[in-house]
């Protein structure tokens, strides 16, 4: 039984179709990542799944309950970490957890019993009495994550959980999410960070313009959509080199600014050629998810 099933989901704002017929399925215990550039429709997809906005077409069921009709019952088993922290600034760390637990109809005694574990999980045990504004960005994020766990949910939604955090704070959040996955929690996260997706997700879908472009495990995606080796070539004359020689030595070659990306199965001829060119710097690396992502969604800026 899947925890979340969405079929042929559609949502338009005016003439703009933000979600254009997508299918999703989340199985118990997996960590699923929805990747996409800004404006791809990720947040709208989450809002649809939570029953916070009505779809124009398609069906959703969460824990076998129809959404949005029974979204309230379904949300009782869900935790949500929104893109932007919405902790209550009038309350302390501890009160935020208490008040939020009350929204789930939990008794004060029940919540009291859960708070120490959650504070420990968030690394905020000695900040329990602090007001929200006294916390750093990373602490707020951890508290938001802890708050999402107050009802001991089976399914956790995270909308870009580490956007805007420094590397230390990101790693800590990742560690916590892996901990939750190990406890058997099902996780649905959206992100535009490939390293985040590659590290955390069992299964991914890449979304753009409201459609799912590709899905699979991180390895499957790399294997299916991109040549295994990449050589990045930098320098003023890189473009001329690519047109003249480089392009012929690889299967595919893309140019952005003064960098040329060469994709190939066998890069030896390419590397051999580059050794003769002291004017060009280069970097040879295995292909990764980011290459797949850029190939599928293009290199244009999204604002």
């Amino acid at each position: 039984m899947a925890y979340l099933v969405a079929r042929e989901l559609r949502k338009s704002y005016g003439a703009h179709e933000v979600v254009a017929g997508i299918d999703l399925e989340l199985r118990p215990g997996e960590c699923f990542g929805l990747l996409g550039p800004n404006g791809a429709g990720k947040t709208t997809t989450l809002r649809l799944c939570l029953g916070l906005t009505d779809p124009d077409g398609g069906t959703i069921s969460m824990f076998d309950l129809p959404v949005p009709e029974s979204a309230r019952e379904a949300r009782a088993r869900v935790g949500v970490v929104p893109q932007i922290d919405n902790l209550d600034p009038d309350f302390t760390v501890r009160e935020n957890l208490m008040v939020y637990g009350r929204y789930f109809g939990l008794s004060v005694a029940e919540i009291d019993a859960r708070i120490p574990t959650l504070l420990d999980f968030a690394g905020l045990t000695n900040r329990a009495g602090d007001k929200i504004n006294a916390l750093s960005g990373g602490m707020k994020r951890r508290l938001t994550l802890a708050r999402a766990l107050i009802n001991d949910p089976d399914l956790i939604f995270l909308d870009e959980p580490t956007t805007g955090l420094d590397p230390q704070a990101r790693h800590l959040i990742w560690q916590r999410l892996r901990q939750l996955a190990a406890q058997g929690k099902t996780i649905f996260l959206t992100t535009h960070f490939m390293d985040e997706a590659e590290r955390l997700c069992h299964r991914l879908a890449i979304m753009d313009h409201g459609r799912i472009m590709a899905s699979g495990t991180p390895r499957e995606l790399v294997a299916a959509h991109i040549e295994p080796q990449v050589v990045e070539v930098f320098g003023d004359s890189a473009a001329a080199w690519a047109a003249d020689q480089g392009g012929a030595l690889c299967e595919r070659c893309e140019q952005t600014g003064e960098t040329v990306f060469c994709y190939a199965r066998d890069v030896d001829p390419l590397l051999h050629n580059l050794e003769q060119r002291p004017d060009l710097r280069y970097l040879h690396r295995p292909a990764n998810l980011e290459d797949v992502f850029l190939r599928l969604t293009g290199r244009d800026l999204r604002d």
Binding site: R72, P82, D90
Partner: protein
Amino acid sequence: MLVWRRIALPSVLGSLADPMIYMLGFGYGLGSMLPDVFGTSYIAFLAAGTVCSSTMMAASFEAMYSGFSRMHVQKTWEAIMNAPITLDDVMVAELVWAASKSFMAGGAVLLIAAALGFTQSALALWVLPVMFATGLAFASLGLIMTALSVSYDFFMYYFTLFITPMMMLCGVFFPADQLPQALQQAALLLPLTHSVALARPLMNGVVPAAWPLHFGVLLLYAAGGFYVALALTRRRLLK
């Protein structure tokens, strides 16, 4: 659900200071130069108006400035709606909360008025439900403004164009029948008129004439206003 804010005392004290200054200042200062109004001292007349106007103010402020903070600035509603709670629940809670807070604000004025001897009989206790109905009416209207608002500045229009004129037209400071006929007619449509029409006789120890009508108008404003506010907010947040 009703674990709403519990920081009421400072805000009640805050919303008490302003009306008390007006009531006591005008009441004793201006009142000493005036004859009795409808058989009571001017300050007793003014006390009834002040109970209603401070209820109106408190409900409006809470539904607009505080409501907008929670809805738009702090995204508190969004957080709550991720729990098994719907927008409709949140709106009802905001309405009841704003009405309760205004009830406390108006109640504080009433208590002081009673302590100073400006109420005549136990009939004044009926002012309590009047204040709650007044609070519901103005909270509903305030929530409409909140649903339409893009920023805090927007609320100034509502205060300038709606709330302030009501202070003058609805018999808070002077009997409305001192006004030109056209304005008197217009005032009959305004909710504060009906609030004052109930509270003043009650504080004076008299059962208000046509009280079901006045009470009905307040409840109509509350119900109609809330319906519109809910529709507008749904469109704003759940589109």
